[in-house]
Structure formats: structure tokens, C-alpha cells
């Protein structure tokens, strides 16, 4: 039981607990907090996989900006606890066993297909390599994403304006 395995299981348990809590919580703000816990656990897993730049970007952008946007919208819309309707109760009773089946099937096939893979030996300077790849091979998609963000910015501004 190496230290790496212990850390992996701790972070994986945290991620799964956060995901289960996301589904089970009744108030959207608690679901948002659970999702932030999942993202933090995933950032820890990226660090374990030696992808330190991706881990930092995950915290700064995903957990630190996108989820802040979610929390703001929940605060602005004054979202309350979810109501229990007939449809949702039926969905719960039929859905939980079906979810279990989906999880078991997915996990079984993924585990069987990838059991033969082994990890490559350690390398250094991941951030440097990511930067080289991003600005040389993937330079065109990189510029396209900047246009995408501009479009999203304009769209969000137009959508959220009140009719005046």
C-alpha cells in the first residue's frame, strides 16, 4: 500500500462523495458546494498524474470562476429547496436501480478494457510541453477559443439585459 495509492483512494472517495452529495442535496447551493469539492478532489488527482498546469487551471478557472458564476446566479435567483412532485418521486424509485446498473456496466467495461495499460515513465517540465503544443500545433484552435469566449461574452450580456 504505497503512499500514492492511499492518496489516490482518499481523493477518489472525496470525489465520489461530492458527486453523490450533488445528486442527493435538496438546495442548489449545497449542490454547488459539493461540485466545488469534486473539482478540488479532481485537481488533486491531476497533481497525482503529474499534470500540474491542468490542476492549477482547474482550480483557477473551473472552481474559482465558473462555479462562482453558478453561486452568483443561485444567489440572484433566490433558488430555494427543490419541491417533491409526483413525477420526481417516481423518477427516484425507478431511477436509483437503473443508475446502479449503468454504473456497474460502465465500470466493468472500462476496467476490463484498460486493465492492460501501463503508465509511461516519469517526465519533467509538463507546463513547458503543454505551452509548446498549445502555441505550435494547436495555435489555430487556440485563436478560435478566444473568438468563442468573445461570442459567449456578447451573448451573456445581451441575454441578461432587461428589455428597456
Amino acid at each position: 500500500m504505497t503512499a500514492e495509492l492511499v492518496v489516490f483512494f482518499a481523493l477518489a472517495a472525496l470525489a465520489v462523495a461530492g458527486a453523490v452529495s450533488l445528486i442527493l442535496q435538496r438546495h442548489p447551493i449545497h449542490s454547488a458546494l459539493s461540485l466545488i469539492v469534486v473539482m478540488a478532489a479532481l485537481a488533486g488527482l491531476y497533481l497525482l498524474l503529474e499534470a500540474e498546469f491542468v490542476a492549477a487551471i482547474q482550480i483557477i478557472v473551473y472552481a474559482g470562476a465558473i462555479m462562482v458564476l453558478f453561486v452568483f446566479v443561485i444567489m440572484l435567483l433566490n433558488a430555494g429547496v427543490e419541491e417533491r412532485t409526483q413525477l420526481s418521486s417516481m423518477a427516484r424509485y425507478a431511477g436509483v436501480p437503473l443508475t446502479g446498473v449503468l454504473l456497474v456496466v460502465l465500470t466493468f467495461h472500462v476496467a476490463r478494457a484498460s486493465a492492460a495499460m501501463t503508465a509511461a515513465p516519469l517526465t519533467e517540465g509538463m507546463t513547458h510541453k503543454v505551452a509548446l503544443l498549445l502555441f505550435q500545433d494547436f495555435a489555430f484552435p487556440f485563436e478560435l477559443t478566444s473568438i468563442l469566449i468573445l461570442v459567449a461574452l456578447l451573448g451573456a450580456t445581451v441575454l441578461a439585459k432587461r428589455d428597456s
Binding site: 465520489v16 484498460s114 451573456a156
Partner: protein, 100 residues
């Protein structure tokens, strides 16, 4: 050394939980967050594969997925705000008619 299949199994579990949340939750914001959970699970699979194959392309893809998720969250939440203002409710069952 943690076998890569462990990471892929975790990614599959998180993806399955995201699908469950997407299908069964009634609040539109929680549905949106389940979509983000699915995207995160896929990111984990990308990074795990990038480590297993020794190439950095997986991490570059994760970068793009995060950027696209940011743009999608911004526009999606704008739509949610407009819909919530018009229907006065965040319940998905009340937003199932095209006409107001």
C-alpha cells in the same frame, strides 16, 4: 504506481453519477451542474490517458474543454436567468412548453 485503469473507473463512476443527476433532478441549476460534472469526468479520462501514453495532447484537450465549459456556462446561465424571470420558476417540469 497507481494503474491507469483506476483513474478510468473513477471517471466512469463520476460520469454515471452526472448522468443520474441530469436525468433525475428537477431544478434547472442542478441539471446544469450535473452537466459540468460529466465534463469533469471526461477531463479526468483525458488526463489519465495523456499520462498513460506519455503525450501531452490530452492536457491540451482538457484546456480546451475547460474553456468551452466556461463559455457554455456563461451563455447557459444567461438563458436560465431569462427563463426564470419569465416563468417565475426554476422547476424543469414547468419549462416544458415552447409557448409561454
Amino acid at each position: 504506481m497507481v494503474p491507469i485503469s483506476f483513474y478510468l473507473v473513477l471517471s466512469a463512476v463520476l460520469f454515471g453519477l452526472g448522468v443520474a443527476g441530469f436525468v433525475f433532478k428537477r431544478n434547472i441549476l442542478t441539471v446544469f451542474m450535473s452537466i459540468e460534472l460529466m465534463l469533469n469526468a471526461v477531463n479526468l479520462a483525458f488526463v489519465a490517458f495523456s499520462r498513460a501514453l506519455g503525450q501531452v495532447d490530452g492536457q491540451v484537450f482538457v484546456f480546451f474543454v475547460i474553456v468551452v465549459a466556461a463559455a457554455e456556462a456563461a451563455v447557459g446561465l444567461g438563458i436560465v436567468i431569462v427563463v426564470a424571470r419569465n416563468r417565475q420558476s426554476l422547476n424543469v417540469e414547468r419549462i416544458n412548453l415552447l409557448k409561454l
